[in-house]
Amino acid sequence: MTADGPDVLDVPPPAAAPRRRTARGERGRERYPAVLMTLAALGVLVIVAPLAGLVARAPWGSLVELLSAPGNRQALWLSVFCSVTTAVVCVLLGVPLAWVVQRTRLPGRRVLHALTTLPVVLPPIVGGVALLLAFGREGLLGGFLEDTFGIRLAFTTPGVILAQTFVSLPFLVLAISGALQSRDRHLEEAARTMGAGPWRVFWRVTLPLIRPSLIAGAVLAWARALGEFGATITFAGNFPGRTQTMPLAVYMALETDPDAAVALSLVLVAVSLAVLIGMRRRWTGAL
């Protein structure tokens, strides 16, 4: 119900009047449970205090200089490149995966779903070890890939992307899977009765309808990739310019150059915050 003139007449006055009063006049008299308020305040403190610390200790004067130092610039660039590539790879692999789980009757698709979401709860370090055992030189597939195609993944930039994809993919699969599940198949069925084959149904109907979830899922996957540390350092190592992403650079700089660590951290915080805010706009403006 909108609030413009004519529509207001439709609202029965007795129902509209008291609601307005609770929203404005009586607010001061409302009581909130002290326990909830205290715990909520503590929650805010846990999140805000570290951020405040970062901002307070930030070397504002030398920020630009620190960030443009060659090593840091490399880490920044590598992080951006790897996380964006990871997000794209996640979309390319995750959407079909979620589709198979939700739209086919293949046996074992439930198990598949459980498996793809496993990395969410798995410690990233364990993921890194597992990746080494699969794609390392001595691993299940690593030797074969290197001998046959000359592809080396462990301790390379593609390895960073693989590690990040491993931990980020579940976020996208969960987002798409949820969107497909909540959308009934009525429109897809309608498309079929109009002569659309399975691919056209997916491309012209399913995909446009889940677009908001696709964007949200891709952003989540990207954010997870940007912050990835454990699996990356285990599987891809910590080589500046090749596999040393921002989080790894922050960790290294803590020992040698705390100011640079704070500066890099600030950039990560700023970027994450910007994306979160942008996404909220996106969602409120979505279909």
Partner: protein
């Protein structure tokens, strides 16, 4: 072009087993209570639900025959569907919704858009071509859905409760438009409905489905004249009583004996139009021989008449003028006498 179908769909707890036959130009209305299998039938004809038995042949082409393993996928059937909830694509404009159907059938983009524009214009929606479905009124959305189903020139058009999503006030108009659009379509039309007006005005053949079985078929006139189940009787707005006839009398299941001017014998139905039932506060005297007593259960006004449900043996619906309600002082619980002339009781073998 003939539709010949024996649709058998076994869904465990429910089995649909219905035969249908229709020619090009026929409009068949499938009527039945909720859960009768109407939607299952529509889905089977569209190919969204495979048959488990029987066959489905349209214009000489087998679309589904489990016995031989033949099955034509829904996207390859010359069938257009207007769903009850319309199912317009929310992300496409009215024009693109219609063009989508044409593109699917292999038309080039430009060609498809031109044809879609023509279809929308034909249904009076030229100015709504660029609107998204959520900006269309119920009646407009309904016409877009119809254009979308008709544009690729299907051989079989399926309409699922085509007017149920509309306000009652709009239905008469849209029904008129629908009748016009259907008249121009030369394939087989099949309408699923539970609205008597829709069925009786749009269709030339009725199929009554109950519990997954066809219990009666015929022209609207045949069905109205001789309904063969309580559901159909209610559908056409008549009282249907069951009993045993011996010549010009019928003894109802409840024991009441009625005189009829249509002699028959054996198990029989007695059909009484609500308008033929007279209500009295005192036992009536004079010509009517069929008189029994009961109490009013319910009163409702429909248009210029009042329908009165009387709890009795047998219970019956009477149609009287709203003025008569006031004159007789009728309200739920009022004891009344009912009388029906023998000439107003139609009997026919069950």
């Amino acid at each position: 072009m003939t539709l010949s179908a024996h649709v058998v769909v076994d869904r465990g707890t429910f089995t649909l087993d219905a035969s249908l036959r229709a020619e090009s130009g026929d409009t068949v209305a499938v009527i039945g209570p909720n859960g009768a299998g109407k939607t299952t039938l529509l889905r089977a004809l569209a190919g969204l639900l495979p048959l488990t038995g029987g066959h489905l042949v349209l214009g000489g082409h087998t679309l589904d025959r489990p016995g031989t393993g033949e099955f034509v996928r829904p996207e390859e059937r010359p069938v257009g569907v207007v769903f009850q909830d319309l199912r317009l694509f929310p992300h496409l404009t009215a024009l693109d919704n219609v063009a989508f159907a044409l593109r699917c059938r292999g038309r080039k983009r430009k060609d498809a858009r031109a044809a879609a524009t023509a279809w929308l214009a034909r249904l009076g929606l030229a100015d709504k071509a660029r609107s998204r479905p959520r900006h269309l009124s119920g009646g407009q959305a309904q016409r877009v859905a119809l254009a979308r189903a008709l544009a690729p020139s299907p051989r079989l058009l399926l309409l699922d409760e085509p007017l149920s999503a509309l306000d009652t006030s709009l239905r008469a108009d849209v029904r008129h438009d629908l009748a016009g659009a259907l008249a121009a379509f030369d394939g087989v039309r099949l309408i699923i409905t539970h609205d008597p007006t829709e069925a009786l005005t749009l269709a030339d053949h009725l199929v009554i489905l109950e519990n997954g079985r066809v219990i009666q078929t015929g022209t609207p006139m045949e069905i109205t004249a001789r309904p063969r189940s309580e559901y159909v009787a209610r559908f056409v707005g008549a009282n249907l009583l069951r009993g045993h006839a011996d010549g010009d009398h019928i003894t109802l299941t409840g024991g009441l004996r009625l005189a009829t001017a249509h002699p028959t014998s054996g198990d029989a139905y007695a059909l009484i139009r609500p308008q033929a039932v007279s209500l009295h506060l005192d036992p009536p005297h004079g010509s009517p021989r069929n008189v029994w007593q009961g109490r009013i259960r319910d009163l409702s006004l429909t248009g210029h008449t009042a329908r009165v449900t009387v709890e009795a043996k047998p219970s019956i619906v009477a149609e009287i003028t709203p003025a008569a309600i006031g004159e007789l002082g009728l309200s739920p619980g009022t004891p009344v006498w009912m009388s029906v002339k023998a000439t107003d009781i139609t009997t026919y073998p069950a």
